[in-house]
Each structure stands twice: as structure tokens, then as C-alpha cells.
């Protein structure tokens, strides 16, 4: 069974803090993605990675960075959290030569 886990379901941070969101998969999938989900906007792609140490910007990378040191782990970093980064963050994976993305449970981040 496909398994994508995210480090926290709920997270509350203060403005200016550095925030790490972690995603781990056990399926050996090449591609990993970070989205943020906001009401009325659907899912928007922040960053994705198609291999270890490789990353590509999505539609809304500003204020975020990512790290992929191992194939199974893809981290999203908020260098200095701001209130407009309060959102639901979803991680997803995609096997090479495939089309179905597998999603983690999401992290609901609140920045106060």
C-alpha cells in the first residue's frame, strides 16, 4: 500500500520563525511535490523535485525553499514565516512514467 506521511497534522508558529515541514514516502517514487491548499484557490504548486538534490519552482515559490537529500524525504522550509503563509500544505509523490499522484494527509499551518 502506498504511504506518504507528513511530520505534523497541525502546527502553530509565530511570525518570523523558521518552519520545517517534512514529507516521507516509502514507495521509491522519483517525483515529490509540495502544494498549498486555500479555499477558493484549490491546490497551488510551490516546489517539486524529480530526483535527489534536484528541485524546480512551481507557481508560488516565494517565501519557501525545499530540500531533498534522500529519495524518500522532501522538506519544505519557510525561512521566516508570515501570516499569509497560514494554509494547508499537502505533499504528493508520483512514480516515474506514471500519472497518479499520491497525497499525504496534509499539515494545517497557522502563523500568528
Amino acid at each position: 500500500d502506498v504511504k506518504v506521511t507528513q511530520s505534523s497534522r497541525y502546527l502553530v508558529k509565530r511570525t518570523g520563525e523558521k518552519v520545517f515541514l517534512e514529507c516521507v514516502q516509502d514507495m521509491d517514487h522519483e517525483n515529490m511535490f509540495w502544494y498549498r491548499q486555500d479555499p477558493g484557490l484549490g491546490l497551488r504548486l510551490i516546489y517539486f523535485s524529480y530526483d535527489v538534490k534536484m528541485k524546480e519552482k512551481g507557481d508560488i515559490p516565494e517565501g519557501y525553499s525545499v530540500s531533498r537529500e534522500k529519495k524518500e524525504r522532501f522538506s519544505l522550509i519557510l525561512e521566516s514565516a508570515s501570516t499569509n503563509q497560514t494554509s494547508m500544505y499537502l505533499c504528493a509523490t508520483l512514480p516515474g512514467q506514471s500519472y497518479e499522484q499520491y497525497f499525504g494527509p496534509g499539515t494545517r499551518l497557522t502563523v500568528t
Binding site: V4, G42, L45
Partner: protein, 115 residues
């Protein structure tokens, strides 16, 4: 750039009835995939159904079927015999067949199935 539009933010249906969720998209690509994903309350997003653009036949998965109109760039989801467990957010999504793995999502439709 590809865009996906879901014009129905919220819908409701009575249990056992049929409901259709709408989706339109804009692309200049000729070969691509279309998807419907379901996100139940507080649960993970899962794939409901997919359609390859080169296939004329509409995809079907049990009670879920699509109406794919390529020329009109329309991709609606029909849920037959609605069940309480179908209550969820439904997202329409687009992915190019090649040249990139990123997916474009619509804003979502919140479906409530009423007993």
C-alpha cells in the same frame, strides 16, 4: 499555461440520487490527462477517476463516470447512486502527457450528500 475552472463551489445531493460536477480547462496541448480527486473531510486526497485525452471513450469507475468533451474542453464528473461517504471536496486536475510532471488543479467543489 494551463488553467482549470470549477464553477460550482458547493453542491448538495440527496442520498441515492445522481449529481454532476462541472470542470472546464484551457490548454494548447493535444495530449494530456484529466483527473478527478476526492478529499474527504480530514482525510487524504485520493484519485477517483482519470481520462487520457487521446481516448474518445469516457472513463467509468463503478458509480463514477465522466463526460469528456475534448473540443469544448469540458470534463464533468457524474456520481450515480450517491452515498453519504461521497461527501467531500472534489478537485478536477490536468497534467500534460510529457514535458513536465506538475499538475494543475481547479478550485474544488464541496459536495454534501444528504440522508
Amino acid at each position: 499555461a494551463q488553467t482549470v475552472t470549477q464553477s460550482q463551489p458547493e453542491m448538495s445531493v440527496q442520498e441515492a440520487e445522481t449529481v454532476t460536477l462541472s470542470c472546464t480547462y484551457d490548454t494548447s496541448e493535444s495530449n494530456y490527462y484529466l483527473f478527478w480527486y476526492k478529499q474527504p473531510p480530514s482525510r487524504q486526497m485520493i484519485l477517483v477517476i482519470r481520462q487520457e485525452a487521446y481516448k474518445q471513450q469516457n472513463a467509468t469507475e463503478n458509480r463514477f463516470s465522466v463526460n469528456f468533451q475534448k473540443a469544448a474542453k469540458s470534463f464533468s464528473l457524474k456520481i450515480s447512486d450517491s452515498q453519504l461517504g461521497d461527501t467531500a471536496m472534489y478537485f478536477c486536475a490536468f497534467m500534460k502527457h510529457s514535458g513536465g510532471n506538475d499538475m494543475r488543479f481547479g478550485a474544488g467543489t464541496r459536495l454534501t450528500v444528504k440522508p
